[in-house]
Symmetry: C2
Subunit: 339 residues, 2 copies
């Protein structure tokens, strides 16, 4: 089965290749009657433009890139990325843009991928996830002049466009909610220490702790995996002054924490209240269902994709704050039981 080219369309319409190109791109240079005739013929013979030829002459790849820097082991468990990708995808496919995905081991590999994509002109721009403090990827991308949107912030994104949600406000709201329930000993199991949003949440936690005089508010660091989250929980619950509420930086650790609590004979929410960041079906899967900080992640991804396409189109790099995560109370939080 031979794929029709623009020349085939031109021949059948009795016009030149140039005219067909103008017609297809909605550009002036052909009469409305001719445009319609050309479009009809193109549809008839099932013509679509070669992305390669288009990329070569128009200097646009028609694709954006996403490099996921997580070990294969952790990657799958968190629903976050798939939700993000599905949102990104929805926005891109509406514009016939493709999404090129690559899984990388670390930032060096990720920068190498960006460099390769740039050299091969394979993507028009990239989405950057998991912003760290002093993130080496930022200057690398700036040097390449590769359009990019950083999902994360605010701050630390250099001259690049960025999109973030107000994690500080969300964390503060959560702590205030727990305090209103009567909790005073609140712990937090944080994600990787050098991620920018971990830092932001940690600062917010310190601020609200001071403001409300929560002397027993501790933060322990973990790595988003269930194993580590469970281990951290076991340590917290074994301490002399064990917390009555724990806030987890992701859903996976929260579910692991719940299991550990149950394994140790504690009831949730009677003995321990649990809050998960990143609401997901996972939080509703367990018993009791977890109170969670959620936001519309596909919408977040779609937003980022739109922003990236704008940057690719030459618009100035915006810094945009997305929806603030909101708390959905479920069965895992309650006033602490008297002891």
């Amino acid at each position: 089965m031979k794929r029709p080219t623009i020349a085939d369309v031109a021949r059948r319409a009795g016009v030149s290749k140039g005219a067909v190109s103008y017609a297809l791109n909605g550009q002036p240079g052909v009469s409305e009657a001719t445009r319609q005739r050309i479009l009809t013929i193109a549809t008839e013979i099932g013509f679509s433009r070669s992305s390669a030829a288009r990329a070569l002459s128009a200097a646009t790849a028609g694709a954006i890139g996403l490099a996921l820097c997580r070990p294969a082991r952790t990657l799958g468990v968190e629903p976050f990325f798939m939700a993000l990708i599905s949102g990104v995808e929805a926005e891109l496919s509406a514009r016939s843009y493709a999404l090129t995905l690559q899984v990388v081991a670390d930032h060096d590999a990720e920068i190498a991928v960006y460099r390769r994509w740039w050299g091969e002109r394979r993507v028009d721009g990239v989405l950057v996830c998991d912003l760290r403090t002093n993130d080496r990827r930022i200057p690398a991308l700036e040097e390449l002049h590769l359009p990019a949107v950083v999902i994360g912030g605010p701050g630390g994104t250099g001259e690049l466009a960025s999109l973030w949600s107000d994690d500080a406000a969300a964390l503060t709201e959560t702590v205030e909610y727990l305090v209103a329930l009567g909790h005073r000993r609140i712990a937090r199991v944080a994600g990787l220490r050098d991620l920018r949003h971990t830092e932001i949440r940690t600062d917010a936690f310190a601020a609200v702790r001071q403001r409300l005089g929560l002397v027993d508010a501790v933060t322990v660091w973990s790595d988003y995996t269930g194993e580590e989250g469970g281990r951290a929980t076991r340590r917290l619950l074994s301490s002399a002054h064990r917390p009555t509420a724990v806030i987890y930086d992701n859903d996976v650790m929260a579910v692991a924490g719940l299991s550990v609590a149950q394994e140790m004979g504690l009831t949730v929410p009677g003995d321990l209240s649990i809050v998960a960041w990143d609401d997901s079906p996972l939080c509703r899967l367990v018993h009791p269902p977890l109170t969670a900080l959620g936001r519309d992640i596909p919408a977040y991804g779609a937003h980022a994709a739109r922003q990236l396409l704008a940057v690719v189109a030459g618009q100035p790099a915006g810094r945009v704050q997305d929806e603030t995560p909101h708390l959905t109370p479920r069965g895992s939080t309650a006033p602490p039981r008297e002891r």
Copy 2:
């Protein structure tokens, strides 16, 4: 920053574009000394070939496509796809192939995407997931002559290459294990009814049921979501002759089933044994950890990718059986308690 082209390399090496092309592609036509000189210069000035130009002249896109046909809602929760993707990716990036991803709503949309990819020459081949009985995508791909590997089978894959694991054997092994523990009333919460592998597992379940005389072995159908899995479990556990063991067709439903059992005051594994298909970190996240049927999913993905690249290279479509899932006993299975 100007991207270097093959002409830049040629100029600096004092040779023609053609010579550079031969050198880069490891083709005869240049001396070994010249080849080395050209390669050195190419590395020095940071040259990489434009994927567009390459695609245009070599008629190969350097990318393979994966269309995921799941609603955004379900997509994220199952770790399966991310694990698969990371395996596919590892294989592809080793060969500088890109992975193009698209999320689609249904098979019609998926076929439309294949057609578009084919027309745009955007991918050299595709991986097909979630094979159904009488799958319309198979004839569509055959008609397009788009190289493809179907992940699923055996059978129902037409002339296309395919890769599957022996689900029948795995299911039989699992039932035999449960029977050995002393279970007689074994239920199965199956996935979507028209998926090919659901059918295969269902047939195997019927066969082993008959062979071992398990009159109370029932199958109920679900849709892989936690909600539905939980609901199905609730129904099973509320029946007069409730099962003492349940096999779930994915990890998410198994976790949901565990929650429902605990919510209903049943202990696992005392009152109910649970087995999950698709072992994943999710199974180790809960308490008790779930006995699961696992296999190396990244390896499965890598295998499929290798197979697809072979088909793209013109080798005949193979039908390959991958590793059979193996049972990993954990805390969720035990002999049924006497009643």
